[in-house]
């Protein structure tokens, strides 16, 4: 039986955010916006959902005088991301 895909990760924007954060130590909100091409509002909503699930942490601070929002993937998020990729591979293997 095929494993269920995590609905929180099975969304284009949230998956892109998680993929970006999985490959870095931390990233600014503006970096995520630049890389995903999403609008600030949409990105903010999706980041909140991932943070509520405990997949990422969001830290607000300053870089010089400019406000800065730093996002990091958590251990729980990394595990969920790995499990999601593993499940995807199974789906692809079955489809072949």
């Amino acid at each position: 039986m095929l494993p269920k895909l995590d609905p929180l990760l099975h969304s284009e924007l949230r998956l892109a955010i998680m993929s970006l954060l999985a490959g870095v130590d931390e990233a600014d909100f503006t970096y995520l916006k630049e890389q995903t091409g999403a609008t600030s509002g949409n990105l903010s909503v999706q980041i909140d959902k991932l943070a509520e699930a405990g997949y990422i942490t969001v830290e607000k601070g300053f870089k010089g005088k400019m406000p800065r929002t730093a996002c990091r993937i958590t251990t729980e998020g990394t595990e969920a991301f790995r499990a999601y990729v593993k499940a995807l591979k199974k789906y692809i293997a079955v489809g072949k």
Binding site: H10, A16, S19, E26, A27, A70, L88, K89
Partner: protein
């Protein structure tokens, strides 16, 4: 990018791969400006010092090298502050930064150490002798122990382990100290005895840390 778009497994996997690759490329692109900064400084300093040395016949102009890391560090800080690009850091950028920092610390310490050694052994600062001592560092043993120490420090950077970073530094600079004291005599083999002991001690510390 939409949050509700239905994706197939292939599309999801392709999105993950593309996102990771594009992020890696972006981080690599950003490191370019620091290579340009340090490359420019190195070229300018070497040419200026060469000309001053050549024109005045004074090796003391080599002291200007100490200005390079100071200017470079200040400019790098300024560039980082004025940077309008959003912040992002991954393992590769962290390790690259650590490798160059380790190199900078090694290079500056070797220079300071050599001048200090020259001063202590002569009781006065004889820059001509200092340059000769620096040239004598081009001994195979001294070069190997410095590279050994640098490699160990870099491993510490990659593994985020302070014991390894410090042990590498102690091995490189300590080995050089032994070389200065023993010269080219057979006692210089103690450099490797020392390096071996530090390596064993590092292994023990790491074992204790991750018990």
């Amino acid at each position: 990018m939409e949050q509700n778009k239905e994706m197939t497994a292939e599309e999801s996997l392709s999105l993950i791969t593309e996102t990771l690759n594009s992020s890696r490329k972006e981080i690599t692109r950003r490191s370019g400006k620091y290579y340009i900064l340090w490359g420019t400084l190195l070229t300018l300093f070497s040419l200026i010092i060469y000309l001053l040395w050549k024109l005045t016949d004074q090796a003391a102009w080599n002291n200007l090298w100490f200005g390079m890391p100071i200017i470079g560090f200040l400019l790098a800080r300024l560039m980082s502050r004025k940077d309008t690009e959003p912040h992002v850091q991954n393992d590769v950028s962290r390790i690259t930064q650590g490798i160059w920092s380790a190199f900078g610390i090694f290079a500056c310490t070797v220079a300071v150490f050599t001048i200090a050694y020259s001063y202590v052994s002569d009781g006065a600062l004889d820059l001509g002798r200092t340059i000769r001592v620096m040239v004598s560092v081009a001994s195979l043993t001294a070069e190997i122990v410095l590279l050994f120490g640098l490699a160990e420090s870099i491993c510490g950077v990659a593994l985020k382990n302070w014991a390894m970073k410090i042990a590498g530094f102690v091995t490189g600079i300590g080995g050089l100290a032994i070389y200065y004291i023993t010269g080219a005599a057979e006692e210089q083999l103690f450099i490797f005895t020392f390096a071996g002991l530090v390596l064993v001690a590092t292994g023990l510390v790491i074992k204790y840390q991750y018990k």
